[in-house]
Amino acid sequence: MPAVQETVDQVKLIDVDQYKYGFETIIESEKAPKGLSEDTVRFISAKKDEPAWMLAWRLDAYRRWLTMREPTWARVDYPKIDYQDLYYYSAPKAFKAPKSLADIDPEILRTYEKLGIPLKEQELLAGVRKQGEPSTLDADAGGEYRSGNVAVDAVFDSVSVATTFKEELKKAGVIFMPISEAIREHPDLVKKYLGTVVPTSDNFFATLNSAVFSDGSFVYVPEGVRCPMELSTYFRINEKNTGQFERTLIIADKGSYVSYLEGCTAPMRDENQLHAAVVELIALDDAQIKYSTVQNWYPGDAEGKGGIFNFVTKRGDCRGKRSKISWTQVETGSAITWKYPSCILRGDYSQGEFYSIAISNGMQQVDSGTKMIHLGKNTKSRIISKGIAAGKSQNTYRGLVSVNHRATGVRNFTNCDSLLVGDQCGAHTVPYIETKNASALVEHEATTSKINEDMLFYCMQRGLTQEEAVALVVNGFVRDVLQQLPMEFAVEAQKLISISLEGSVG
């Protein structure tokens, strides 16, 4: 039976070429001269009003980068990047640190509104409402709902345009600000921690980032503080031919807790754009960091034209005893993904977790996974990864579990499953398991299968359309991961999953 018109429309609405964040914001911007040289690095550093030590750090990274080669081991295939044909800095023109909404270009505000960044935060940005006051919007929603549980840092191309809830966070002692500001205001903290998890010489893309990073978020949660709200950064690439190189540094001091979310989108363009971010997390004794990502960069069109190259280095260091770092990611965007959020389990009894859903469609290529490096005694890690490949995409899980020979009592459990939708795509699993201690217990399991016909039949027999049935089965398949997301994101992620997949059922 042919699909009913409603279904056809629904599917069309959400296919790869229906990327809904693909609009462009027309604003004037100020850029660094095209290309990369020491001058570019100096330009960025000067723009950011950085102290001399920061410039020296960047230049050191740049010189190292010149000696490095682009890695080729990942299962991704993309045209060679001309690093001299990019802009490394772009900021909305006449940009000043905004004191109120009046300082922010209305175009940018409209952009975030279109992206669905909670209106209430914008209201706060605009100064319409004081913190703690009920929102006027709440009245429409029924009144009971307390707004503003998420503090947002919005990064537009190379600069952070706004950070909300700064005052309230300050009361709790939490520092949440653009990293460029942190370098000026908290140089001791930045100096002490920056580059200690991902050193400047770590890898090709991380080194490039160290040289030219322009902004990102800085979070410091002091000893014993449970951060009173979710922190969130929303990244937006807007400008053409611009690379985005953001740097995030999160430090959770002894006994503290913080949950951090990030979201990413970009306009639809025929050219590929580069995104090479570095995220460093540091958890001291008994601290906990929960880091969630919903990555929805522009994936390119149905023929694989355009899209973001997402080459990201994310690493957490469980430096203290009994610390815990948890990564949750929902990956639906980007033309190419090269991303391995990792945990270095240095403190005894520390824990690392990685929950991931990677969905690829169209011509997307994903090579993603994690590394769990067990150095401390009695450290534990858990990896749950779900890969879903549809269309003509290639989806690879690549993960490392390594147990140092001094790390006794280590436990690891890994489960990575792949699901294929259609016969044009590929799903691959490349786990590396390195054990150097006899007391370690490392378990890995993985399966690959297609959506079970019986399950589909069962659902369809009860009146669901094929698309609905697939969405239901897939949602069940990824449930373990979705449960780890904060509420606000879980809903969005669920929607994303049906968006990415439904278009491909055939």
Binding site: L66, T67, M68, R69, W73, Y83, H405, T408, S418, L420, V421, G422, D423, Q424, C425, G426, A427, H428, T429, V430, P431, Y432, I433, E434, T435, K436, N437, A438, S439, A440, L441, V442, E443, H444, E445, A446, T447, T448, S449, K450
Partner: protein, 441 residues
């Protein structure tokens, strides 16, 4: 940009390959014709341009051949009656019962025999292979550029072929017996092609024994061409000398409805790299791939598999058991590839490692590469110490600790060996395992 090409610095072994090849090739040109010549040149070209693989080459990540083989031993030259007698006197690790023996002393087949049930010959000795066999000799090999295979191709000085005619079954198993004897380092490159024609079946036993205390290098390649409806059981025993560097490759191509079972038991060599390249060419075939490895001291063993499901409706099972003591290092790299269109593939791979010492190291990389949607593929990998609860259970029943451990290890290894159909052979293999355990006490 300042990413200049790095100058190629060759190791002494790589230098030796480049230097010795031209003269060797000139000496060997009288046999094999264009097909062998092409393989030889292809192998050499791969070595010359890429050198020996180091750990940055993904397939050799855990076995850095460039570092492990700094020198290329001279190939063995100097047969004598005394040597053959010494070889004959060597007590093999595996007690193989009644079988048709083909003895390779230092890489050369010392026997010429035409047993009933199969056709045996040497390409170098001008035994004219049938056109079908010749076609197999000259076929494309997707593993030809693999460093171990390339080295064998470049430096082979004979190529033994065996053919099991269609529909037949030799009454005795075939025993390929490799013995490496010498007092100073030497290299050998034996190569065997086994064509099992449609509907035929065969049991092939491959054993490697050699002189202890000599850093010899052996690099064997055994290729199976398995016809439609044919069955092959292959059992390999690696008991190479304690200083040996043993590279061995088995390649198998399966036709339609064929069955292939292979088991490799490893206790020997200082460094081993055991490769299997298996390709399903026809529908409805099945393969069982097993390994049992027991290492101690500073032994290193790398089992690398590439299982290519190129045809639909095939099944493969890979089960590898590794026991590591002292400072031994075990590597398992398995890759199941499901080609586009290979629907209804059923592949399951499992690698289990038992660590008996904190200085031992286990590396596993069970990989899936899947391009078809209607398949069931899975892999599992575990690494850990002996289960204390199980040990306690046995000890509570009055079994001394060492014995309890031995029992548990034996049963762990036995799961890999159990599949062998021939009871005598299975027991002989378990005897080797028990011998290894006894030496632990």
């Amino acid at each position: 940009m300042a990413t200049a090409e790095l100058a190629v610095v060759r190791t002494p072994a790589e230098e030796a390959i480049v230097e010795r090849y031209p003269a060797f090739r000139a000496r060997q040109q009288h046999w094999g014709g264009a097909a062998v010549e092409r393989l030889r040149e292809q192998g050499f070209a791969a070595l010359k341009t890429r050198g020996l693989p180091n750990r940055r080459v993904e397939e050799w990540k855990y076995t850095d051949l460039k570092a492990l083989m700094p020198q290329l031993a001279e190939r063995f030259d100097g047969f004598s009656q005394g040597l053959v007698e010494r070889a004959a006197a060597l007590r093999p690790h595996l007690a193989v019962g009644d079988a048709t023996r083909i003895l390779f002393v230092n890489g050369c087949s010392a026997a010429t025999l035409r047993e009933q049930g199969f056709v045996y010959g040497s390409v170098a000795h001008g035994d004219d292979p049938r056109p079908q066999t010749a076609a197999v000799i000259s076929r494309e090999r997707d593993y030809a550029d693999n460093a171990a295979v390339a080295l064998n191709s470049a430096f082979m000085d004979d190529w033994v072929f065996l053919r099991i005619p269609a529909g037949t079954k030799p009454d005795k198993p075939l025993h390929l017996e490799f013995r490496e004897i010498g007092d100073k380092p030497f290299a050998t490159y034996p190569r065997v092609l086994i064509v099992v024609e449609d509907g035929a079946s065969a049991t092939v036993i491959e054993t490697h024994d050699g002189s202890d205390g000599v850093a010899y290098q052996t690099n064997s390649l055994i290729e199976f061409e398995i016809g439609n409806g044919a069955r092959v059981e292959h059992v390999a025993m690696n008991a190479a000398g304690d200083k040996a560097l043993a590279l061995s490759t088995v390649a198998a191509r399966l036709g339609r409805d064929a069955r292939f079972a292979t088991l490799t038991v490893t206790v020997g060599a200082a460094v081993s790299r055991q490769q299997l390249f298996l390709a399903f060419q026809g529908e409805g075939s099945e393969a069982q791939v097993r390994g049992a490895t027991m290492l101690r001291d500073k032994q290193h063993c790398d089992s690398t598999l590439v299982i290519n499901h190129a045809a639909p409706h095939c099944l493969s099972r890979e089960t590898f058991k590794t026991v590591l003591d002292d400072e031994a290092r075990g590597v398992f790299q398995g890759k199941i590839i499901v080609a586009p269109g290979a629907q209804k593939t059923d592949g399951k791979m499992a690698a289990h490692t038992l660590l008996l010492s904190d200085a031992a190291e286990a590396n596993a990389k069970p990989e899936l590469e899947i391009f078809a949607d209607d398949v069931v593929c899975g892999h599992g990998a575990t690494a850990g110490a002996l289960d204390d609860n199980l040990k306690f259970y046995l000890m509570a029943r009055g079994i001394p600790e060492k014995d309890a451990e031995a029992l548990l290890i034996e049963s762990f290894v036995a799961e890999g060996v159990d599949s062998v159909e021939d009871e005598t052979l299975r027991e002989a293999l378990m005897d080797v395992a028990r011998g290894w355990l006894k030496a632990r006490e």
